[in-house]
């Protein structure tokens, strides 16, 4: 299993996944032309981790904006984390959002409600 490190651009988020520590970080705008191929490496590594490792995971998610296809990728990722949680593994999801960005908080709540997962909602000062 490899570490995944993708630097952020104006249209794509910072992506970090360290299988040795079980840490996921996604930050910024997610508006890639092709969300599927952008998240592919990360999803493949995550799948490997979910299948072959027994440890837990902490996901720090801090988005400013993401497009529709990215929301599908994020949903898929959260579903994998949900399955891990159902299997008894420790999963922590920290959902960061700007203080005035109520929409982004609500988006996190929607994901949390639909997947029946507990998110930690953390505000970031603007």
């Amino acid at each position: 299993m490899e570490k995944v490190y993708i630097q952020a651009t104006d249209y794509t988020p910072f992506v970090y996944f360290d299988p040795s520590t079980g840490l996921i970080e996604l930050k910024g705008n997610s508006n890639p032309a092709n969300s599927n191929s952008f998240y592919q490496k990360f999803i493949v590594e995550l799948d490997e981790y979910v299948t072959h490792e027994s440890g837990g995971l902490t996901a720090n998610l801090s988005f400013h904006y993401f497009n529709t296809s990215s929301s599908k990728c994020i949903f898929n990722m959260l579903k994998k984390l949900h399955k891990m949680q159902e299997a008894g593994r420790c999963v922590t999801i920290n959902w960061y959002y700007l203080e005035e960005d109520e929409e982004m908080r609500e988006v996190g709540e929607d994901f949390s409600d639909i997947l029946h997962m507990n998110f930690n909602f953390i505000t970031i000062a603007a």
Binding site: N29, N31, H64, Y65, F66, T68, S71, K72, D110, I114
Partner: protein, 193 residues
């Protein structure tokens, strides 16, 4: 388009598998239950993705409205700034022209008093000619002042247009345009295209 299919790869596979079994009339209760689960899962996904997209669209709309408002404010302040700069340039140029004319006036009146006035008194012997000459000098200087103001004004305008480091652009720098305060990401998202 193919990339979008990739995004729904699992759903595609489930549908294809069920279709194949249906064509072969080989559907068990278990297959049906699995297909219902897949359909339900897809429906949940559609709901959440639609909801999330609508919220993010509303966020973009708000950002857009803020940009339009701030743009209007910038246009208004820009026009105010232009008129203020115009007035400042005029005042500056007027002061410069007045200083030159005042110096010229002092020199000319002293010269007239010392040299020309004496000559008129000795050679021409015409009463009040001295005063007439002084009046002509005064009117001439006033006329010259207008000409000088126009000349300096044009010079300053050329400076502004060329963006030289003269006094006027410096003045312009004092009046900073308002900054749009958006979250960095929204700013990038909307402006970087």
């Amino acid at each position: 388009m193919n990339d979008l299919w990739g995004l729904y790869d699992e759903e595609d596979k489930a549908l294809h598998a069920f279709k194949t079994k249906a064509q072969q009339n080989n559907i068990s209760r278990k297959d049906l239950a699995q297909f219902i689960d897949s359909y339900q899962d897809l429906l949940i996904q559609s709901k959440v993705i639609t909801k999330v997209s609508d919220k993010l669209q509303s966020k973009l709309n708000k950002a857009n409205e803020r940009i339009i408002e701030q743009n209007e404010e910038i246009v208004e302040k820009n026009s105010l700034l232009e008129s203020t700069i115009g007035q400042l340039v005029k005042a500056q140029v007027g002061k410069k022209a007045s200083t030159i004319i005042f110096t010229a006036a002092v020199i000319m009146f002293l010269s007239e008093e010392v040299f020309l006035g004496e000559a008129i008194a000795v050679i021409v012997h015409i009463q009040y000619l001295d005063l007439v000459v002084k009046g002509c000098i005064a009117f001439g200087l006033k006329f010259l002042e207008g000409g000088l103001e126009t000349f300096f004004l044009k010079k300053e305008q050329i400076k502004i247009v060329k963006g030289n480091n003269g006094n006027v652009p410096e003045l312009e720098n004092k009046f900073k345009l308002p900054t749009i305060k958006l979250s960095p990401s929204i700013g990038k998202l909307l402006f970087s295209k």
